[in-house]
């Protein structure tokens, strides 16, 4: 069977592209690093891929606001391709800066490229960039990427603008009703908790959401940084696990097309 093809999108300032490619390749996918200019000029087409991954980084320096400029490029110049890609039943994941891009482009919480943003990711309450490991509660949802994951996983976050804010209470209620809240920051026992367990002040500790179909997923934590057992911050205490908690995210995505 042909390998599942993954397009890892690059733009000026992307910087988790290589490890994201490595993760997809390691679970049996075949990932290509593709610069946004290739999609814009049409030398590469989304049609040839099953998974679109927007990796972490600081696209265009996060100037103006995080992910905004790349989000506008997707929304204004690639709307048709993205619509077709989604309609064809394919998968989209945005990690960290990629999540910011998906939200600002109108791919999350639902595909709507008309610039009517409902959710955003803004400056951490701490006022600064922070790199730290968090505990995440994995909710039972339709999200393709998190199926079968344990209830509590550990991943690192590293961002300055990761606080999820909703436009109004209705948006939050809808996210809950439609089971779109995939990951929530918790303490090590799985209970809701404040800073630093919730590293940015996100409402309800939301760390990741999906669209209603479960095929578009965005999250602030970095699953590609808890891939190898030596990534775990306490591996020298606990010993080496078989694999990192983040592996499942990539494996689920690739296996989705093998079923």
């Amino acid at each position: 069977m042909a390998k599942v093809r993954v397009l890892v999108l690059r733009a000026a300032g992307s910087n988790c592209d290589q490890e994201t490619k490595f993760a997809f390749d390691a679970v049996g996918g075949q990932a290509d690093l593709v610069h946004i200019n290739r999609l814009l000029e049409g030398t590469v087409s989304l049609r040839d891929y099953q998974i679109l991954a927007v990796p972490g980084g600081f696209t265009y320096g996060d100037d103006i606001s995080a992910g905004k400029v790349l989000a506008n490029q997707l929304r204004l110049k690639l709307a048709d391709q993205l619509q077709d890609f989604y309609t064809a039943g394919k998968l989209i994941i945005g990690i960290c800066n990629g999540f910011q891009v998906l939200v600002k482009a109108g791919l999350l919480p639902r595909l709507d490229l008309s610039a009517g943003q409902e959710v955003t990711l803004t400056y951490n309450d701490s006022g600064k960039f922070e790199d730290r490991w968090v505990y995440l509660h994995v909710n039972q949802t339709s999200c393709v990427f998190t199926q079968g994951m344990p209830q509590i996983v550990r991943l690192p976050v590293a961002h300055a603008e990761g606080k999820l804010v909703v436009r109004n209470e209705t948006v939050l209620q809808e996210l809950k009703q439609k089971m779109q809240i995939v990951l929530q920051y918790v303490d090590k026992d799985g209970n809701p908790a404040g800073y630093p367990m919730n590293p940015n002040g996100s409402i309800e500790g939301i760390a990741g959401i999906c669209d209603e179909s479960g095929r578009i997923f965005g999250l602030m934590p970095h699953p590609e940084r808890h891939f190898h057992p030596t990534h775990h911050p306490q591996w020298t205490r606990l010993g080496l696990a078989k694999e990192g908690d983040g592996v499942a995210v990539f494996r689920n995505a690739v296996n989705y097309f093998k079923a």
Binding site: G13, K68, Q117, G127, F129, H222, T230
Partner: protein, 952 residues
């Protein structure tokens, strides 16, 4: 037409930027501020229809979920006790958000915006005097070096300057010595009389006056910063003249050790060592002290940006994989009124420097994993900012080829008036009026331009599109082309260099130190492919000249020759003058101080000392895990907050082979004896490598000397001593130096004319290759009932120690290094760790055994029972001295209970002893020589002391 758009957080949302002003003002003693509103302001130049303005505001600039906006108006207007102030960059300073905005507006399909500029506005509510307002503006909101308050009616955009061309000759041939020195001073050349006379003589032979650009190029090439003329010159020391002390010490040890895994040393932009069969790693550490003193954010920003270009410019270019940073600041708790004139408050310097490294390093996607912060009053006017970068490079790409006829291509950022005279000015002292001279030299970096540069250069490298590469650092194109084309010669057409704005002279173009530029030499048949590759990712690449075969550097502007120098004179013409060096031990009164009774309290106080306390505030702001190679993070332990000894990173995700990085630094010892400071720094860097499971094999060192003005013989004497210690110590350990750099003239002249030199400061950075990273060991205690061992000998060496300072004593007994004994010890411990006998290991450094035990305990979340009577010691019979002596070459080791016999066997014949065990009861208990308990402290309380100081 100018459009002004401002946006701000909705009033009911928490705004961290506004909050920062409130707390910053409180730091200044201003407590009357009730509320602050913060606004982002964007100015757009060009004719825009109202609908387009609204689209730009709504679809680009404003986050409609969290923000409101106003077009050509204000969201709030100051009234009553409110005060509004708007701040923007000075003209010509990089405004990267504005550059991105221009692009993003075009993405919206809106044409006609010619220029953009950003500003920020604060509206501050609360009763404030004019003096307080001025204080807030100057100390909190802006830095006058590159920003200003927007005045009513001010022209926001630069009017278009014309390109000027007037060939300038500098009359030198008939100049008297006094006139030569006046020219040197007035043009900020920082050349001395011997050097000016050599230039005069050279042009007398040529029978013509030099042009300004020729003089500038000589000054740049001959600057201390670029030529290291002091340490490579002639030094009279102890009655003999040393020809090139650097060569006789640092280079010499590497040559004598002759390690086959040292692939390229002291000849390229970074030292290169073998990593595995396919790859090598290179490492370079630089300083960016003077710019950081003037403008901490921009200085540190361009410091890290600059050092990243060193590995990128090594061989045919290395992929940057790890950043390091080490800072020395004045005391952050200093009172504002005690600051000398012209000095920024150390807290502001530290916040700015950390933010500068953070914003550049994080945006570049390079993990910042290793570093240190050190505080001392003598760094007040002259902080030190060391930035390092490690690169990964295929082994078959570590050499460059320079041949005649290749195209000289400048790639990356554009050239502006920024950074003029950085190389020469950094070779002088700072003083209270330095802000004036430096205003042109301090810049802000644009990391995204550099990131694009890295992304495309590595592709071009792998496709073989160029034959040689180097960075534009200090001295700009002058240094880059002058160095790289040394063996062939080159001609450059300066009007071809892409500029940020018009109005630069040919001379400014040649010596500008604008950031984010690299120079590559492209063979003619590859030119089209290379230019197409860069264009495909929006990276500017421009042919500016060719390499020649005539060994001259020839500069033209609009077809006319404006400068021509022989490469030989440029690089070899620098006259070597004899500098005098003396060293006399400082007069230090031996005073024992008043021995403390409550050693538990002492331990708390040392843990809270700025030089010992947790640096988590700094570390967390750096992305230390990007690139996904992190094996041992800078913070370790059960709560991820203990101080790791060294970082370990896997640069290849498909391999277990890893790089270990560590550093050693202790300027307090430098004030007593630079020789032992240097030896101690090497010992510290190496024991950090050992502590995490590394070995002395495959370990290499870097030296960074930061000294005062070495034209003063006493300063130079200390430097020579330190260099000798580097030779002696590294030779015995068998660890070669692969790269280094010195930064001299780190002195600050106060208003009253007093010159304050930084303490003699040597940073030693160590890099080691580890075959199997799963053998790594962290410093946190792992399991109750495991035995604790002390490895290494404790001596009566309290000179420069925290404890002695605390109890008001002084001593010249600075810790020595018995490198022969230490080497045996390191090797044995390293073998014991490789055999899997060790559960945790931590080196003893500042604060000695006491601090090491406390850190291990609270990092691991377990207590410890320790008995000092078993401690291997020499000439010490007091509990306090045993606990807080800072003797080198010592470790505290937690051994796996079931392996203790094996461990002891492997350390047989070497100083080591079982001193206690790990306990469950969350307390550190230490029994003294008399058998009574001298310390019994809850580990949570110890941790609290350690964390409080810099919990900002």
């Amino acid at each position: 037409m100018i459009t002004r758009i401002e946006r701000a957080h909705k009033a009911d949302l928490f705004d961290p930027e506004a909050q920062a002003v409130v707390s910053g003002a409180a730091d200044l003693g201003i407590k009357t501020i009730e509320r602050v509103f913060f606004f982002h302001v964007t100015y757009l130049l060009g004719d825009l229809a109202p609908a387009d303005k609204r689209r730009i505001a709504e679809e680009l600039l404003t986050d409609r979920v969290t923000q409101d906006y106003a077009v050509d108006g204000y969201l709030r207007r100051a009234a009553g006790d409110a005060w509004s102030v708007e701040i923007t960059y000075n003209r010509g300073v990089t405004d990267m958000v504005a550059e991105t905005t221009l692009k993003a507006v075009r993405d919206l399909g809106i044409e006609g915006v010619q220029d953009a500029k950003t500003a920020r506005r604060y509206e501050i509510i609360g009763r404030l005097s004019d003096a307080q307002k001025e204080l807030i503006v100057q100390k909190l909101l802006m830095n006058k070096v590159n920003e200003h308050v927007v005045q009513p009616g001010e022209e926001i955009f630069m009017s278009k300057a014309e390109d000027r061309f007037e060939l300038v000759y500098v009359p030198l041939l008939q100049a008297s010595p006094e006139e030569l020195m006046r020219i040197s001073r007035e043009r900020d050349l920082f050349l001395n009389l011997a050097e000016m006379s050599a230039i005069q003589e050279h042009f007398r032979r040529l029978k013509r006056e030099p042009t300004d650009v020729e003089l500038e190029m000589l000054a740049q090439t001959w600057s201390e910063h670029c030529s290291h003329k002091t340490l490579t010159g002639l030094v009279e020391y102890n009655g003999e003249v040393i020809d090139n002390p650097l060569k006789k010490t640092i280079f010499q040890v590497t040559r004598e050790l002759n390690k086959p895994w040292c692939l390229s040393v002291f000849k390229d932009n970074a030292g290169v060592i073998e990593f595995d069969d396919q790859y090598a790693v290179c490492f370079k550490v630089e300083t960016h002290n003077h710019p950081s003193a003037m403008e901490p954010y921009g200085g540190a920003n361009t410091g890290i940006g600059g050092v990243i270009r060193d590995p990128l410019g090594t061989g045919l270019g290395a992929k940057p994989i790890i950043n390091t940073d080490v800072f020395c600041f004045g005391p952050v708790d200093m009172r504002h009124e005690d600051l000398p004139k012209g000095v920024l408050h150390p807290k502001r310097v530290m916040q700015g420097v950390v933010a500068g490294v953070r914003d550049y390093g994080n945006r570049m996607g390079i993990p910042t994993c290793n570093g240190a912060v050190f505080f001392d009053e003598r760094y007040l006017g002259n902080p030190l900012v060391f930035c390092g970068n490690v690169g990964l490079i295929p082994r078959n790409m570590i050499e460059k080829t320079v041949t005649a006829g290749d195209y000289i291509v400048v790639v990356g950022g554009r050239t502006g008036r920024d950074g003029i005279h950085g190389a020469t000015a950094s070779s002088g002292e700072l003083h209270s009026e330095s802000e004036e001279i430096w205003s042109g030299a301090v810049q802000i970096g644009n990391p995204i331009v550099e990131k694009k540069l890295v992304d495309t250069l590595l592709q071009a490298r792998d496709r073989g599109l160029y034959r040689a590469i180097t960075d534009c650092g200090a001295g700009g194109l002058s240094s880059a082309v002058g160095e790289l084309a040394k063996s062939t010669g080159a001609e450059v057409d300066l009007e071809k260099v892409p500029l940020k704005y018009h109005g630069l002279t040919y001379m400014e173009i040649w010596i500008s130190e604008a950031q984010e530029r690299m120079v590559i030499f492209v063979p003619p048949e590859k030119l089209d492919e290379a230019l197409a590759l860069f264009a495909s990712e929006d990276v500017e690449a421009t042919v500016i000249g060719r390499t020649t075969g005539d060994k001259k550097i020839r500069l033209r502007y609009q077809g006319q020759v404006v400068g021509e120098l022989d490469m030989e004179f440029l690089h070899e013409g620098l006259p070597r003058i004899v500098r005098k060096a003396v060293w006399q031990p400082p007069q230090i009164v031996e005073s024992p101080g008043k021995p403390a009774h409550d050693l538990g309290q002492v331990l708390h106080r040392i843990l809270a000392a700025p030089n010992v306390c947790s640096k988590e505030w700094v570390i967390r702001q750096y992305d230390h895990e990007v690139q996904a190679g992190s094996v041992l993070k800078p913070l370790v332990g059960v709560e991820n907050d203990g101080p790791g000894d060294a970082c370990i990173v896997r640069p290849r995700l498909d391999s277990l082979r890893a790089v270990i990085l560590s550093n050693g630094l202790n300027p307090k010892y430098g004030l007593i004896d630079p020789y032992w400071m240097a030896a101690s720094a090497i010992d510290e860097a190496l024991r950090n490598i050992i502590a995490v499971g590394g070995s002395l094999e495959r370990t290499a060192l870097l030296d960074n000397f930061c000294w005062g003005n070495t034209d003063k013989p006493d300063r130079l004497g200390g430097l020579i001593r330190a260099a000798q210690a580097c030779y002696d110590t590294a030779k015995i350990f068998g660890t070669p130096f692969i790269s280094g750099k010195d930064s001299l003239n780190n002195e600050f002249q106060t208003e009253t004319g007093e010159s304050i030199a930084v303490p003699p400061t040597l940073l030693i950075s160590a890099i080691s290759v580890m075959e199997d990273c799963t053998k790594a060991v962290s410093m946190d205690l792992k399991r109750p009932e495991n035995p604790l061992y002390m490895v290494g000998l404790t001596k009566n060496e309290l000179g420069g120690s925290h404890y002695l300072e605390l109890i008001g004593g002084s001593s010249a007994a600075v810790p020595h290094v018995d490198a022969k004994a230490a080497k045996k010890l390191f090797q044995a411990l390293s073998a014991a760790m490789a055999a899997g006998t060790v559960a945790a290991c931590h080196d003893c450094s500042e604060g000695g055994l006491g601090v090491a035990l406390a850190e291990m305990a609270f990092a691991g979340g377990w207590g410890a029972d320790v008995d000092l009577s078993a401690l291997p010691a020499e000439g010490v019979d007091r509990d306090d001295l045993l606990l807080f002596s800072e003797s080198n070459s010592r470790f505290v080791v937690e051994v796996k209970a079931e392996k203790s016999r094996e461990f002891e066997e492997m350390l047989k014949g070497l100083p080591h002893a079982k001193i206690g065990r790990v306990t469950k009861d969350n307390r550190l208990r230490i029994k003294g020589l008399g058998g009574d308990e001298i310390v019994s402290e809850p580990i949570a309380a110890l941790k609290e002391s350690w964390q409080t100081t810099l919990r900002w």
